[in-house]
Amino acid sequence: MNDGRPSALAAADALGARLRATRTEPAANPQLEALALAVTADQPVLLWGEPGIGKSAGMQQLADALGTGLETVIASVHEPSDFAGLPIVGDDPATTGVPMAPPDWAVRLARTGHGLLFLDELSSAPPAVQAALLRVVLERRVGSLVLPEGVRVVAAANPPAGAADGWHLSPPLANRFVHLDWTHDPRTVARGMAGTWPVTALPAVDPARTPGAVARARGAVSGFLTARPGLVHHMPNEAEARGRAWPSPRTWEMALRLLATGYAAGSSGEALAAALAGAVGEGAGLELIAYLENLDLPDPDRVLADPDAFALPDRGDRQLAFLIAVVAAVQAEPTRPRWEAGWAVLAKAVDAGVPDVAARAAADLAAMRDLDWPVPSGIDAFVELLQLSGALPGGG
């Protein structure tokens, strides 16, 4: 395959080609999934990460997974006029005017109609370039050219502490992005150097789920903000936090889109959580996630009506929340069939191997017993546990 190169170079290139040949293995990567989710939902993304930790490689993976091309533009080597268009002077500018020609990458994106535009090193560009670029990110306009619907824009910046020129995003701008932190895992890098890189299966929106996902996301965000009106708009007090994600009506709208997209694509909880925290900030995001987890619990009244046809949540703290809700529902309307249905629900928790989670609820249920109701058989399952723990006499 010597195509006229000197043999020394050909040998070196062969070595390079051998180094480029790597294997891949499937692995979960929540940060890449969160990025894919935000890009799928068509929200402007700002990736924060130190230089040289594989942001561009992640973008290439994402573009391959979405099946579109990747256009990388290094912001710091451009001038504002590159993004506002360059004047092309014809023979008679007085009659034809001076058209502003867009740069070639914008033309390429407009011609294919879809693609991933990656604006790298946003934080080391001069402020005027940043201002021009933000117009590209937020209004999707390059000079007189409007980027088509299918183009997704992602920007990357170095954190203020790590950047030499100390770039600070102003609060109104920060509030228009989904902020995602890009970190590297030393073990992944070490494994990659050995020749195996992880590949993540990225979720895609399932059209069949769309109507349900939208209704569910609307109900969840609206219910949460009804319960916590203080979180609708809350600007942080200090400069560093104002330049990141914080809750405002605009970012809640973004969170709603992310949530609906996540439901429709069946995203993992971890990726959805990272994307939501990137839209409305860590505090509000985590509160929303806790609220969503409680929403996912089965409806206690429906379960009491048919105690054999429900699945216990899989994590102990959610089981606890669910069983507390069941006991509260029995307490609100203590009839014998509902009371006995409550014992049937607790029996499921015992079968699942978590009698201690149900023990508290069992004690509360037992206290509700009417004197002429028979003692339920399920109570024996808890006696040993309560005795052992010292809550009942006769234990060890």
């Binding site: 203020p160 502490a161 100390g166 994590r315």
Partner: protein, 410 residues
Amino acid sequence: MDGPAGPPRPAAGPGPEPTRLDRAKLLAARYRAAEARPYLASALYALAVVPSRAVPTMGVDRHWRAYVSPRFVDDTPVAELAGVWVHEVAHLLRDHHGRAARLSAADQRDHVRVNIAQDCEINDDLLADGLPLPEGRMEPRLFGLPAGGLFEAYLPGIPPTPRHHPDCGSGAHGVPVPWELGADGPGGVGRMEAGALRRQTAQAMRAHRRSRGHLPAGWQRWADELLEPAVDWRRALSGAVREAAAWAGGAVDYTYRRPSRRTPALGGRVVLPSLRRPLPRVAVVIDTSGSMGEAELAAALAEVTGVLREVGVRGNRVAVLACDADVHTVTRVTRAEQVVLEGGGGTDMAVGIRAALGLPDRPDIVVVLTDGYTPWPPEPVSCRVVAALVGETPPDPPGWVETVRVPPGA
């Protein structure tokens, strides 16, 4: 977690190896812990139990799985097992593996010492709270250390060859150990879910304190710090100065003095302007009277000048003024050592700010270092003002001044 359980036993210890885990006893202990400390119930029940012969006593990993030795459960009374449950969940709630990852590399490798320091951080609170723990537990007093500290502070005081080797697993010290299932194992709690659990637990603690009034001091500190994290004043001050500099320096203008390098590309028929970026001028006004400490002043001034140097504002663009209202003198200094702190009362920062604005090269930003006991200009001045307030509970400046508090002893 040999911390509370003494040295690791040899495999052929006294008594036969139990064939299976006594789940009833283990869960009874968890129930007891959750009843005694209701605010920890969610976190305790979120742990998934994994029986393991390899683990010496009990350990956790970062995915909230609890690895339990059947023999340890058989040998330990329920009351002490309940204490061990709380101990293990405390490792995860306090994000010990996350904090261990921020230690220096040498400290991270020495995970035995890290684990001991972490056990000290947890156990003094548990014992103060009246929770029984098994024999051989780690406490700060064993190493002559004060109670109530964080493990990062205990670490230097832990001797290099400890008598016991606790191992609470990677959920504590962050180093994977052989018996753990790893990231791909079944179940487990993700990073964000763990964050939500921590928040939930902190809120439950606050609710518990409001209704019943009693909460161990260590947990109270933890919950307050988690729900309202105290931002390091250095980051707050450098963030404020940085933002002000970006705002003032953002006035980028086009100029025709140097034509753009793109002009030849257009055939020379259109002359495009190029960009110039003026750098902001900054005045630092120092209050020399009042209760400012030398150390705090030097730290705050170093922070400000450091940030300004970073954003490229240096040399004659920074003016440092020492302001003493008694004699209404404003002197221009070049080094922090030249600032003479007078002490005594009678400050008027309005004088200092006016003097700064009256300099021949007018500043775009004024940074004020003061103890806060001072009148301020009655209405907003025509530049950005950032105030670093040094000392105990300084009074608030007006709203248009961006304020950062520097605690004493900083």
